[in-house]
């Protein structure tokens, strides 16, 4: 442009303007392409890093035991996986782009400006120190006020949440006016703080503009004088002005970039906290599993699955033998026939709480069905959690097939042990997928067979999409009983030699439960079964019944003997009868 203008001025008649025009177009296109290319490369790279980070986070989350999930709410973890992750992306993406492009722009423009005129460059840069100081101070104040407004927004949303969740009390005490007044006050305060923020922000961008404008003016004035004096060409002045405009943009955006960088770093820290929780929780707990954490550079965790792990019906292969673990191969004695279960002097407490199990000992012989009963809070479910090692039992207290479960590799332990928890958790996927969970070798026949034993096949087939019906928020809602039976089918398809049912029929009505148990008896002949239940009618069919109370084994024996003994079991039995009488009345 400078060349064109100068040419126009000096040789008006013969100016080769066309050539310069072509150059401008060429450069413009070149700039566009280069910018696009770099943008794609940088942004694409950052998005890849984000995706990798997300995968790493997910893999880390998979290795945490239930203890971790008891301590961290889903909401908190979700915030970390969403907003914190995108803040990190902004840091990497936008922050990196603007840092790189600002550096290049500033250096390039400075060189170009110096090449045009040294003195003019000094003049032009004169306002910039002021600009930088101002940007910094502004940035601090904006941060302060943004924080204040954000805090007040949290207060406001807490108010809304509190009143809307407590609407029954609001109605009963005619609190509507008070709720409105209370909300109104928080709302007004938020308005005040937002406006305080707005006042700070309102002045800033225009002030930057003003200073940049003054810069232009100084150039115009000082440069104009130089042109008048003949020390500078008009073209050079115009070009100079253009360069200056390039410089203004990144400078104005500086404050913003800084705050993005700061927020990104904070978020990175919060993500690290989650990922590093592995280090705190893992030693001595789930280490023996299929996943072994390893640290790589940058403090990010990578979890590498142990290869050669395939679990089909009844067959288990686990190739991890490191760390003194027991090697389990197909056909090994533990899985050939149903192994027995043994709990020996087991005392267990959840962190910081009184013991839920005290010196509990009992045994389930291979092929035997034992029922574990007791009032709510007696510790039944904890036994199941420890057997499946969802919580870590103390060493040498829980044995499967004669092996201490803490010494067994997790995949083989869990393949041998069909554990059906109380809560029928289903994923929002098809029923078929919920039962198979993507395990190999599960044909439709296997699935249907398991569903049939679980007493849910007919109901599923009556659904519009049958086994393909999708469960969940926007799909179909199953009743609590149906969910539990689908979960049971899920455990049965794995064809486990040992089955642990933790009150798995709590939401199924009593008649249905007996039907399922009858099915199970045939399907599970020869298998070891531990049945935790609060329904004694179901327990009655077990070979033996173990009665738990406040974490201790108080009685053991067959149903009739226990009823005759007149202890806790007899009382629970009487309660059950009363309930049935009331229900029948």
């Amino acid at each position: 442009m400078k060349r064109a203008i100068d040419a126009l001025q000096t040789h008006p008649a013969t100016a080769p303007v066309g050539y310069d025009v072509a150059l401008i177009v060429l450069f413009a296109v070149g700039n566009g392409v280069a910018r696009l290319g770099s943008r794609f490369a940088i942004t694409g790279g950052c998005q890849r890093i984000e995706a990798d980070l997300r995968n790493d986070l997910y893999a880390a989350l998979q290795t945490f035991p239930p203890k971790f999930y008891a301590e961290h709410s889903t909401g908190d973890l979700m915030t970390r996986a969403t907003s914190d992750l995108s803040a990190v992306r902004s840091l990497l993406g936008f922050g990196a782009i603007s840092l790189v492009s600002t550096t290049f722009a500033v250096v390039g423009v400075l060189v170009a400006m110096l090449a045009v005129d040294r003195w003019l460059t000094l003049w032009a840069l004169a306002p910039y120190p002021v600009l930088l100081i101002l940007a910094r101070r502004f940035n601090l104040r904006v941060n302060e006020r943004t924080e204040a407004a954000q805090d007040q927004l949290s207060v406001l949303s807490a108010r809304v949440q509190e009143y809307l969740s407590g609407m029954s009390v609001v109605r009963a005490y005619t609190l509507e006016p008070r709720a409105r007044a209370d909300f109104g006050q928080a709302n007004r305060e938020y308005l005040r703080l937002s406006l305080a923020l707005a006042r700070t922000q309102a002045g800033f961008a225009p002030a930057m503009g003003l200073i940049a404008g003054v810069g232009t003016l100084v150039v115009l004035w000082a440069g104009g004088r130089a042109v008048v004096d003949g020390r500078l060409s008009l073209g050079a002045l115009v070009a100079f002005n253009g360069y200056l405009a390039y410089l203004a943009g990144p400078t104005v955006g500086l404050g913003w970039t800084l705050s993005i960088v700061r927020r990104g770093l904070t978020s990175m820290q919060r993500l690290q906290e989650v990922i590093e929780a592995v280090a705190r929780d893992l030693p001595g707990t789930v280490v023996a599993g299929a996943l072994r954490p390893a640290w790589t550079e940058g403090g990010l965790i990578q979890v590498r699955p142990v290869s050669g792990m395939a679990i089909g019906a009844g067959a288990v292969r686990a190739d991890c033998t490191e760390g003194g673990l027991i090697e389990v191969r197909p056909g090994s004695d533990m899985l050939a026939a149903a192994p027995g279960l043994r709990v020996s002097h087991l005392t267990f407490a959840y962190a910081g709480r009184p013991a839920v199990l005290r010196d509990v000992s009992f045994e389930v012989a291979p092929g035997e069905t034992v029922a574990l009963v007791g009032p709510t809070g007696s510790g039944k479910s904890t036994v199941g959690l420890l057997l499946a090692r969802l919580w870590e039992p103390p060493p040498d207290t829980v044995f499967l097939g004669g092996h201490d479960v803490t010494k067994l590799p997790l995949p083989s332990l869990r393949a041998a042990l069909g554990y059906v928890p109380q809560e029928g958790f289903l994923f929002s996927r098809s029923i078929e997928e919920n039962i198979s969970l993507g395990r190999d070798g599960m044909g439709p026949g296997t699935l249907r067979g398991a569903a049939e034993v679980a007493g849910v096949a007919d109901e599923v087939e009556r659904l519009p999409d049958g086994f393909g019906a999708v469960v969940g928020e926007r799909g179909l809602t199953l009743s609590g009983g149906q969910r539990q039976r689908v979960t049971l089918a899920r455990a049965l398809t794995g064809d486990p030699p040992v089955l642990v049912l933790d009150d798995a029929f709590a939401s199924v009505d009593a008649a249905k439960e007996e039907e399922i148990l009858t099915n199970l008896r045939t399907a599970l002949a020869g298998r070891t079964v531990l049945l935790m239940t609060h329904r004694l009618r179901a327990a009655r069919a077990a070979h033996r019944i173990v009665v738990l109370d406040a974490g201790r084994v108080v009685e053991t024996g067959a149903h009739d003997d226990l009823v005759r003994a007149g202890g806790l079991y007899a009382r629970l039995w009487r309660i059950q009868q009363l309930e049935e009488e009331i229900a029948r009345a």
């Binding site: 126009l8 025009v21 999930y69 109605r171 005490y173 961008a205 003003l210 404008g213 115009l220 299929a290």
Partner: protein
């Protein structure tokens, strides 16, 4: 008309950018702030003027002074330039503040309106709409609506004014050059629309995939035990990885469209610049154009392209805003189903009617899952009645019908001989107090929570007496006594203490008829004893119904009603019912853990 509230998809829907009905509602919402809006609008022409003056001054400086070597004149123009800059600074600051002010005020008012409306809605509404969704209405949807004003309406008006001004000045400087600039407009518009539409679709896809990814993640977090139990870690990780890279790819696609849009607009701008220099240069050679005019023209051209480039982004903002305002207005238009009658029936001065009476009441929460069927009973003034029954037999429902949290399907509920539907709503709820024993405490001090709902006439002495009767003396031992702030949901007092506070609160509220919904969960024996004493203090000399979940307080009741299958199955005193050896006797034995009475 389908209720937008029951449609989960509506959360993700984009609205039409301009829906006349919604715009009218928005204008209505903005009406109280018309002064502010008008003021901002007045600023726009002034701003445009100041903006347009800058290149013009540049032109004068070049043509009249620099090229004429007029040093003094140049200084004069520089002075003028400074003045324009200062004016521009002032105007911009004012404009930016006024926009924010208007936006924030609209947000404030809308929030107040929505929240005020929400608390007047009936219980059934809250059964169907999770609190989280309602919070989105109050907190984020409102922000989107304010964007419609600041980034949408205001910005469009400002852009149009600037565009008109720029075009006018350009035409005035040189109409032929202007035509050269205009030559770029059709391809620019085409490109802008094409890229923008694609960018929008891509962005929508990004949101959809992100929702899917986050949904998967949330579910995994909840079902991690299942994943671990069945050793499905790798399988799930692969699934997650696939969703993750789907998301990444769509994000990149969106970035590509977005960046291409900006890059091509910039490239077109440079082409326009080249054309201008080429054509303008020839005109300068021909001496039909001045240098200054060309330089100024180039600057005007830049200002011309900016609004056109941003138009698409504004369109998207408007679409989101419309979708949000549709949800908001849908909520505001929803009339409360349970309201006070236009003319409340006069209360009989001294009636001989029962204090409370159910006459053939039938009720169901959902379609025809009847909870109460043709249920009738009455409570005489001063009588203390307890309602017992197995879980899910409709005990709590009776309480909810008494204060019109829900309306009966059939039959009548009478209070002092007057149908509750004829009572003025607030005085009904003042008269019949429903007390939840394990009640919600609100953030605030202990005293705030005790005075909750009671008018300001409660003296400190009465307050102290209530605390004493409720055995809630522990409050005086708190570091700040009655002024002690209670944490969220009363986190800093024990469960038993919370029940005592609820009882004290009921004493302060002092309703003529008390319906007490007993706490479901049990406390330690020591607190249990305190609570029992407090309750008998609360019930003394008052017409009351106790919804007994635990049968521990029923012996002292004047009469016990046993609800079964939606009706009163049997009634009488504790002793009578035990003798009767029917349902109550069994329930009682059940409560005592299987030991016969």
């Amino acid at each position: 008309m389908p209720d937008p509230f029951y449609d989960p998809e509506s959360e993700e829907r984009l609205g039409r950018a301009f829906d006349r009905r919604l715009i009218q509602r928005l204008v209505q919402a903005a009406h109280p702030h018309r002064g502010l809006i008008g003021g901002s609008m007045l600023l726009f022409p002034m701003l445009a003027l100041a903006e347009l003056a800058q290149p013009w001054l540049l032109k004068i400086a070049i043509d009249d002074h620099i090229l004429q070597s007029d040093w003094l004149g140049l200084t004069r123009v520089a002075g003028l330039y400074i003045v324009v800059l200062l004016i521009l600074y002032g105007l911009r600051t004012l404009e930016s503040y006024l926009m924010e002010l208007t936006g924030q005020r609209v947000i404030h008012d809308l929030r107040e309106a929505i929240f005020g409306h929400l608390v007047s809605l009936e219980a059934r509404f809250f059964d169907r709409n999770p609190v989280g969704r309602l919070m989105t209405r109050v907190l984020s949807d409102v922000e989107a609506v304010s964007e419609a004003f600041t980034s949408g309406l205001f910005a469009v008006v400002a852009d149009v004014i600037t565009l008109v001004g720029v075009i006018a000045v350009m035409l005035w400087i040189d109409w032929r050059l202007t035509l050269v600039t205009f030559a770029i407009v059709p391809p620019l518009a085409l490109i802008a629309v094409y890229f923008r539409l694609n960018a929008r679709d891509a962005y929508r896809e990004v949101r959809r995939r992100l929702a899917r990814l986050n949904g998967f993640l949330q579910e995994s977090l909840q079902g991690m035990a299942v994943i671990q139990l069945f050793v499905r870690e790798r399988h799930e990780r692969e699934r997650f990885g696939r969703l993750n890279s789907d998301y990444r790819r769509s994000l990149f696609r969106s970035t590509r469209w977005e960046s291409s849009l900006y890059a091509s607009v910039e490239a077109l701008g440079s082409i326009a610049l080249a054309l201008l220099i080429w054509y303008g240069g020839r005109r300068i050679v021909a001496e039909s154009l001045t240098f200054g005019a060309l330089v100024a023209f180039i600057q005007y051209t830049n200002r011309f392209f900016l609004p056109i480039r941003d138009l698409g982004a504004k369109y998207t903002v408007m679409q989101w805003a419309m979708a949000s305002s549709e949800r908001i207005f849908g909520l505001l238009d929803r009339q409360p189903e349970i309201v006070a009658p236009a003319a409340a029936a006069p209360r009989p001065a001294r009636s001989s009617a029962p204090a409370l009476e159910f006459v053939g009441v039938s009720f169901a929460y959902e379609a025809d899952a009847w909870v109460l069927r043709d249920c009738s009973f009455s409570v005489a003034p001063g009588e203390r009645v307890a309602i017992v029954g197995a879980t899910g037999e409709g005990k709590t429902t009776c309480a909810r019908l008494l204060n019109r949290s829900y309306d009966v399907r059939q039959g009548r509920v009478l209070v002092d001989g007057v149908d509750v539907r004829e009572w003025e709503l607030a005085s009904l709820r003042r008269h019949v107090g429903i007390i939840f024993q394990d009640s919600v405490l609100f953030a605030g001090t202990v005293e705030d929570n005790l005075r909750l709902g009671a008018d300001g006439t409660v003296s400190p002495v009465e307050l102290a007496r209530a605390i004493e009767t409720a055995r809630a003396g522990f409050v005086t031992q708190l570091p700040k006594g009655l002024g002690e702030p209670l944490g969220e949901r009363g986190a800093n007092v024990s469960y038993g203490q919370r029940q005592l506070l609820a009882i004290a609160r009921a004493l302060v509220y002092n309703p003529a008829v008390l319906v007490l919904d007993e706490a479901m969960s049990s406390v330690d024996p020591e607190s249990e004893a305190l609570i029992r004493q407090a309750m008998s203090g609360l019930l003394a000399g008052r017409t009351s119904i106790t919804i007994a979940h635990r049968l521990s307080t029923v012996h002292t009741a004047d009469r016990i009603l046993v609800l079964h299958r939606g009706r009163v199955h049997e009634e009488g005193t504790h002793a009578e019912l035990l003798r009767h050896a029917d349902l109550y006797a069994r329930l009682y034995e059940l409560q005592r853990g299987g030991a016969p009475a």
